[in-house]
Symmetry: C2
Subunit: 430 residues, 2 copies
């Protein structure tokens, strides 16, 4: 079989410059999160397929890469259900594994526990611009804190982390699953229709109210119900910050009082964050978040230069309890690293010297010379001098290397030469 | 279905202290490799299953986690071969994906190209002490350098990287696939029996010569052939460093002359490395390395405190050519991160302050106080004051936190108190 060298469909190879930007951004983000006490943990990429398909992952459960059981033999007996062939799946997010992790390791963890995770997740989505089937998330979560102090801290820590990589023009969009439930109830929707409404609302910015109406009609939601929903959403979209809680209480008298209290406290924290750091926020009644596990406040971060959100999260107070046996309040916030990578600008370093050697130099002498140079603390890249030296020097310069030394057999004093004119960041070096 | 919270069989959750040690070690290793010009790249975790099963991975090809095709429907038709159900697999090493990567991206890469990879690989091995089904490798590779300069540099860079995390008591064990081929030929083994010999020899340190003999007998290798092999191996094990090439040439007159030249040059470099850095080396004629793709020198690093090797690698000049259409010389060296993590000692930091708040304090005031403390550059962990304060303080101290501040409603001047006696590394701080 002739194989081409491209990676699997929807997945990517990362070039050195791409990894450098991503890792540089991750390092700065992790440094800010560490100042808030978040501790990095890690779980395996694979989870029990039953955990991944327990109805907590919303639409993402349809996108799982499933792993075949080992030792199945060469042929599958007739009429075997596919679910009997698989036992594991690649995680589609970092939250479902974290809930298991907390249950497995709670005796060794402080309370509240602040976790930091950075790692790949996999979703078999139709590949499209800016979407990949393997992508990296950077999540922080607080487990064991029931108040919206958790939400306020997650939002502050994440906006500071993004500011540390140059992304300060962000807006927090805020809503609450309890608001959405009250909204659907108030429009007369039975609980088994709530999901259809939320999934359609989630697409509002892409398909508009007409598209939402069409989708809901197909799912048996009456046009009158949607009219009620739309009118309430629009009244909330126009509510000023300081009247938000009052408008909400009037529009939805059926909403849980605790949801209103939480919103009042959280928006007070967000007002203070705006005063201290210039971070904007708004209540967004069309915000849904795809996942099935959210139970309270939900939030996303938008950046002025991007049409999609760059981070999202929310409260999931019931997820850990599903397998632990008792509920543990939990809230999380996830940055989509691919989504910010294009905006991040980190400066390159040019302190590396290239040691080029002619064919006639003994290899142990080359190794020794490189060692001597590195002992001065510099980075040294060794390569053979190629036949055409000018293009080789251009490639070295393009790769960010500042100078070179040419080594010939018998040459004693080796001269270091600059590559091109000195740049601002290399003027003081070599 | 009731699920317990343990991770999948043979896989691990990492606690914060474990991740801190691993990431700290990886950062120092990467810093050394960067001084040698290695550039970090990344490939997806999944590869085309045909690439993973093209007979280049040796025994590891039997251990692949295979991924089910998407959209198969609910039931599988009768007598479907398992191989028709899968299209992807989780990588079992970082070398097979790198060969694909180089073919896919060569136009954007310098020559020679020095890559650094750090990431998980998966093997469905029988779980046993110290072996996991997901584990992390840190690999460096040089593509485009045909001489043993590449081997000499990989070995020097890796021993320096390990020294940077405190592992300097290492020994390089060296052999060559061309030596093994000449050995098997000289014992009269047909090429299709070479694999059986190498697989058995690879287990020599575990099963002894009797075990090797038993295994080879089962595979139809004559006892006389093994006697020849054993006698030559033992003569080489006893050869002094400076007579090694001569002893080898005499024992195996059929060996490729280029293999002897390479060994002479590489051991000269290793002698110089021993003089400069105290790194020991020896020729190990029983070293095989499991992978199918090696073509030249192979090597491992042993540490005095461990019975297994902590890094391994070798030359694979034919792997890239299999899908690129032309051969590119390549050599790599891989550190097993789990295998060194237990030996690495990194100092903890204790500059974090805990901000504990009473139930009666307004949450926005807590958030504001934490922000004020962080603005002085410190790390701040916020938690509610628990009913029993003494055990809470003990837990904070155990978590490496150096001091705390207790916040009550209406309290203006907040006093910071040390947790326990000052430690050497915190004596100078707040």
């Amino acid at each position: 079989v002739k194989l081409d060298n491209t990676p699997p469909r929807g997945m990517r190879d990362l070039l050195p410059a791409q990894v450098a930007v991503r890792d540089g951004a991750l390092a700065r983000i992790a440094e800010v999160y560490a100042r808030f006490g978040y501790q990095r943990i890690e779980t395996p990429a694979l989870e029990d397929i039953r955990r991944l398909t327990s109805d907590q992952g919303g639409e993402n459960e349809k996108l799982i890469f499933q792993v075949l059981k080992r030792g199945l033999g060469e042929r599958i007996p007739a009429d075997t259900p596919v679910r009997d062939l698989v036992d594991l799946g690649l995680r589609f997010d970092l939250t479902v594994p974290l809930a298991r992790y907390y249950g497995n390791n709670q005796a060794s963890l402080p309370s509240p526990f602040r976790s930091l995770q950075a790692g790949p997740v996999w979703r078999a989505e139709r590949p499209q611009k800016g979407r990949f089937r393997q992508f990296m998330q950077c999540d922080i979560d607080i487990m064991g804190e029931a108040s919206v102090f958790a939400e306020a801290e997650l939002i502050e820590a994440t906006t500071e982390a993004l500011a540390a990589v140059g992304l300060s023009a962000v807006t927090v969009r805020l809503s609450d699953r309890r608001f959405l439930t009250a909204l659907a109830d108030s429009a007369g929707l039975a609980p088994d229709r709530h999901g259809s409404l939320f999934i359609a609302l989630d697409k509002l910015d892409k398909i508009g109210w007409d598209g939402v109406a069409e989708e809901l009609e197909r799912n048996g939601v009456a046009a009158e119900a949607l009219a009620v929903v739309r009118e309430r959403i629009e009244s909330l979209q126009n509510a000023p910050h300081d009247a938000l809680v009052t408008v909400l209480a009037n529009a939805l008298p059926n909403i849980e009082p605790k949801a209103l209290d939480d919103l009042a406290t959280l928006t007070a924290c967000l007002d203070a964050l705006r005063a201290a750091r210039g971070v904007e926020w708004r209540f967004d009644p069309t915000l849904v978040r795809g996942m099935g596990y959210y139970t309270g406040p939900i939030f996303e971060l938008s950046h002025t230069e991007l049409s999609y959100s760059i981070a999202g999260g929310g409260r999931y107070d019931k997820l850990i309890g599903r397998t632990l046996g008792r509920d543990v309040p939990a809230t999380g916030f996830s940055i989509g690293i691919e989504r910010i990578a294009d905006l991040v600008q980190l400066s390159a370093e040019r302190e590396t010297v290239a040691l080029l050697f002619e064919e006639d130099v003994a290899l142990p002498a080359v190794v020794a010379k490189a060692r001597e140079l590195r002992e001065t603390g510099r980075s040294v890249v060794v390569a053979r001098r190629s036949g055409k030296m000018a293009p080789q020097l251009t490639r070295l310069e393009d790769a960010g290397i500042g100078s070179y030394i040419l080594m010939r057999a018998g040459s004693e004093a080796l001269e270091e030469k600059q590559l091109n004119a000195p740049r601002p960041e290399t003027a003081a070096r070599g």
